[in-house]
Amino acid sequence: MRFDGRLLLTAGKASGWYGVGIAVAAVVEAGAALTLPAAVARAVDGVIAGAPVSVWPIVVALALVTVAEAAAVVFERRAEARGAWRLRRTVLRHLLALDVAATRRWTTGELLGRVLQSTTAAASVTSAAIGLVVSLLTSLGGVVALVVVDVWLGVAVLAAAPVVLWLFRWLTRQVSANTGDYQDAFADLVTRFGDAVSGARTIRANGTLDRETARVLDVVPRLSAAGTRFWRIQRTAVWRSGLVMPTLQVAVLAVACARLVAGHLSVGELLAVQAYFGYATGLFRQNVLLSRVARAHGSAERVAEVLAEPLPPSGSASLPAGGGAVELTDVGVVRGGRVLLDRITLRVRAGQTVAIVGGTGSGKSTLAEVAGGLSHPDTGRVLLDGADLAALRVSELRAAVTYAFERPALLGATVADAIGYSDRPASSARVTAALRAAVAEDFVRRLPLGADTPLGDLRLSGGELQRLGLARALWRDARLVVLDDATSNVDVVTEERITTALGAAMRTRTRLVVAHRIATARAADLVIWLEGGRVRATAPHADLAVDPDYLAVFTAPDLAAPDLAEPEPAEPEPAGFDRVRSV
């Protein structure tokens, strides 16, 4: 791994002054710990000699060690919490400012890991780095102290070093190889369990809970086998280090006693030797601390990767007055090497209703996303009432366009809060009107607490969810309305009611509607027919309806692999019932 110092510095800086606190505490603790054995040695020698002994040096050293140790714990935890807080804030702000398409480089699970776990691990870099340096210095201090007390002691420790180092490396290799097996088995268990939880409704309907439980638990013997192997390695490890370390310790003690008999060492110094030997062996455990720094570095890299994703173009221009005319010139979108939109040029007049149709993977949703500025094209320009979206102030652009999706993600605390979710939230009158227009009023009234039902308590069918998403889009004074397959799970009868209500509510606005149903195309002023990322035709439905290829779009099978550009949510939807139940 290549270490990037700046990265670690940035992560470390996030901890603020607590980082300095850790450093001071660590140095004080190490210094006091190194002087303590010498002070004790002098006191013991003094006591044995019957001379007056001052315990003050010992009192001071003990007090310093204790206070510094406690302070280090407080500073470390606070530095980590503060660092993680700052990093998380930065990453989340960046993610929310990114182009929507750019955030899809990662799954939600990956992003969650980076925002929550990686930031914490990255923020621990301060304490890990200081810990490494101070521990190294303490260990070296131990070696130096041994040499100072008696040079033969230092020689004894350094002579044994290769054996001990080999022992620790062997142990690390064994453990990490076996950990891999164990983690694979555990990952399999988690996958099977996750699969089964996502199929809860089917399992219930089939009465196969016992069978499914048994299928998930099939992994347990494999897990046990890997676990048992781990303990076997552990036994060998304990035994080998149990032979080497005491031998070394007693060897050092024996050398010290020999020097004592020879009169080169006092009884007190014999004690100090024991303590310094303990410090010196810390030299062999540096790899643990080094791996902590390495882990912090790896995590900082994962955080930095998100922060390195460039922000979309934006400017400070304001939107001129207008009715939502949209113009695309030579728009191209390439994602992951795949051409999703290819030189699209089209024009939608203010107030028009335009249907976007085409088979799976033809680029409908990408076009809808680009036309409303949720994501920016790689080439070409998108104009709204004559203004280039890339030059607009973001807040201005967002306020001018409203979206409803096939699978809306509801945010906020309650149903009403989720409908009015915005920087300028909706009044309750507007929420009620929006629910009515989206034909959602009836089922919301049947919820346990009506519109005040917490989102966490909802179990919605696809159609109900879509109608809430629609209501959320409807109350805002946006000049452009984009409905991306927003009623696909709603039955035909309800959809007709929604269409009528929408027509009344949004007579003057421009509407882009991605649709699978022929009725939607028929009702539009204009149809944009996409095929393979290109416009195959732009014309009223009546003109296109003579083409059998066009009509085939509306009966196209949905058996193709899921569209890569519009990934399904990583986690399965909660096993839901048609109606809401309270928790």
């Binding site: 003990l62 219930r204 993600a409 979710y421 919820l447 058996l559």
Partner: protein, 551 residues
């Protein structure tokens, strides 16, 4: 400790292993017990008395006890592993049973909460192994070092006992407050995870709603809340470390303060003084700190994890006994009323319906009106609050639950496919089906292409790589293969194109038995014997032979 009942059966069943750990750990404490005494003897009777060979011989004995101690630790690993592995297996089994049972019963928690549960078992395992191993051995070492010290210098008793009492009392108080703050931090962490998860899932929606400011404000609130709580817990954590450290180091100071008098009075020799310092510095101090810190931190953490696991590990009670359902019969609702919440409008209001055996019925109606609810009530998965649901003339609750599930199959909209082979995904309801039978089903529902692409029946299936339509085909195949007499398709073909949908519905008709189709498209109605409409005014029976408009 909350949730400790989760581990009780393991402790009872593997108490021999636990005793083994304690036994070998006490043997492993032998070096801690003898170290100071041997060093004192080596100095007093050996090196300082001019008998150097005796001194080295005693050091060799000391080395031997250390090696013997290491051997005892090695021996302790076997029962230790047995207990830890058994604890992990038991937790995995309990959590999988309970968590899956809870999800299947349609209770609390989304898949995210439950999916994370299994991961926490691993955390619990690590803490259990730490607690049992480190605390046992460190605890015994404290005891051994204290006994050794008192035997060497009985006067230490005067210093150690009050110190232990004071430190213990201070720690108990501090730990109580610290634990409270720690739990607050954990609760805030959960809130933080929930909020971040929601926003990350809805990055697109935040932009579309022009709500970046609102989302940022919500996130800032939970981020700050968590960081503050962690800081507050850390302060008390530091105070605990200070008390532990003080209690660990004071004995050394006391020993050195008392030493001049003891040496002068002849109750302590120079060698014994060194031995006593060895007991205090290399036995008592590190072991006591390990016990106090591990018990405090990991004990609380284990309690929290176990409590969380226990919340989702209630194994559902076994079903009540009942009569064996007949092979076939009519399905009926008798004045059935059903609603989800006390205050909500009923989904079914005194509904009456009879579906004869072998009939093919299609249910139409606006979305959200309760068609899926009708399907779950009709198949006996939900009980009506009044009225009854009957199969072959008897209330469904009177039948053996497992047998009833063999008679009736419901396929929900979200098809269930798991990581495994194509065959494993098809046979759960017909474990004994032979290849010929499976092939017939594959041809009937239209799975040929999918099976071929996966390299035959034993090719592995990765659910994420299948389209929604393909997943539905697998779910259809599974039920087609089953012996169920009543099949309910709850929009189970909504991701298929019209031709594939017709093929699937016809396949179920040819298979025989009662077929109820909650329809996604009106075209389904044209094929059926009978059409039902569920709307705001209730359940209506439309005798029909053509898919005429229903409004």
């Amino acid at each position: 400790m909350a949730g400790s009942h989760l581990l009780r059966p393991v402790v009872v069943r593997h108490r021999a292993a636990l005793l083994g750990v304690v036994g070998w750990s006490s043997v492993a404490a032998l070096p801690a017990l003898s170290s100071g005494r041997l060093i004192a003897l080596a100095l007093d009777d050996g090196f300082l008395a001019g008998r150097v060979p005796l001194g080295f011989a005693l050091l060799a004995v000391y080395a031997a006890t250390l090696v013997f101690g290491a051997f005892a630790v090695r021996q302790a690993m076997r029962p230790m592993g047995e207990f830890t592995e058994a604890a992990r297996d038991h937790l995995v089994r309990t959590v999988v049973r309970g968590g899956l049972g809870e999800a299947v019963a349609g209770g609390r928690g989304g898949s995210g909460v439950q999916a994370r549960l299994v991961g926490q078992v691993e955390t619990a395992r690590q803490i259990v192994s730490n607690l049992v191993m480190s605390v046992t051995s460190a605890g015994l070492m404290v005891l051994a070092a204290a006994v050794g010290l008192i035997a060497l210098a009985p006067v230490a008793l005067v210093a150690l006992v009050p110190l232990a009492l004071v430190a213990g009392a201070a720690l108990a108080v501090l730990t109580r407050f610290w634990r409270r703050r720690y739990r607050t931090a954990l609760a805030r962490e959960e809130a933080l995870t929930g909020e971040v998860d929601a926003v990350l899932r809805g990055v697109r929606d935040v932009a579309a709603c022009a709500a970046a400011g609102r989302a940022t404000a919500d996130l800032d609130r939970v981020l700050e809340g968590y960081a503050t709580a962690v800081g507050r817990a850390a302060d008390l954590g530091g105070a605990r470390i200070a008390v532990i450290g003080l209690a660990a180091r004071l004995p050394l100071l006391l020993l050195l303060l008392l030493a001049p008098g003891l040496l002068a009075g002849g109750t302590l020799t120079p060698g014994e003084l060194v031995g006593a310092v060895v007991y205090v510095v290399s036995g008592l101090e590190p072991a006591w700190r390990a016990v106090a810190e591990i018990l405090g931190n990991q004990g609380v953490e284990l309690g929290t994890v176990l409590a969380r696991l226990a919340r989702h590990s209630t194994v559902p009670p076994p079903p009540a006994p009942g009569v064996r359902p007949p092979a076939r019969g009519a399905l009926a609702l008798r004045a059935a009323t059903f609603r989800y919440g006390e205050h909500s409008d009923p989904v079914l209001d005194r509904a009456d319906l009879v579906i004869e055996d072998g009939e093919w019925v299609v249910v139409l109606g606006p979305s959200g009106i309760g068609k899926s609810t009708l399907a779950t009530v009709l198949t006996g998965l939900e009980r009506p609050e009044s009225g009854s649901v009957e199969f072959a003339g008897l209330d469904v609750s009177r039948y053996q639950a497992a047998e009833l599930r063999h008679r009736m199959a419901l396929i929900p909209q979200e098809a269930y496919v798991f990581s495994g082979t194509v065959r494993e995904n098809l046979v759960p309801l017909a474990p004994d089906a032979d290849d010929a039978t499976i092939d017939a089903t594959i041809r009937a529902v239209g799975l040929e292409e999918l099976v071929a692409r996966h390299g035959g029946l034993d090719g592995p299936v990765v659910p994420q790589t299948l389209s929604a339509g393909e997943r539905q085909l697998i779910a259809l195949g599974r039920v087609h293969l089953s012996p169920a007499r009543v099949v309910v398709l709850d929009e189970a073909t909504c991701h298929l194109d019209p031709a594939a949908e017709a093929r699937a519905e016809n396949a179920f008709h040819r298979r025989g038995g009662t077929l109820v189709v909650i329809a996604h498209r009106a075209t389904s109605a044209a094929r059926a014997h009978r059409v039902l409409v569920l709307d705001e005014t209730g359940l209506h029976d439309h005798a029909t032979t053509s898919g005429r408009s229903l409004r």
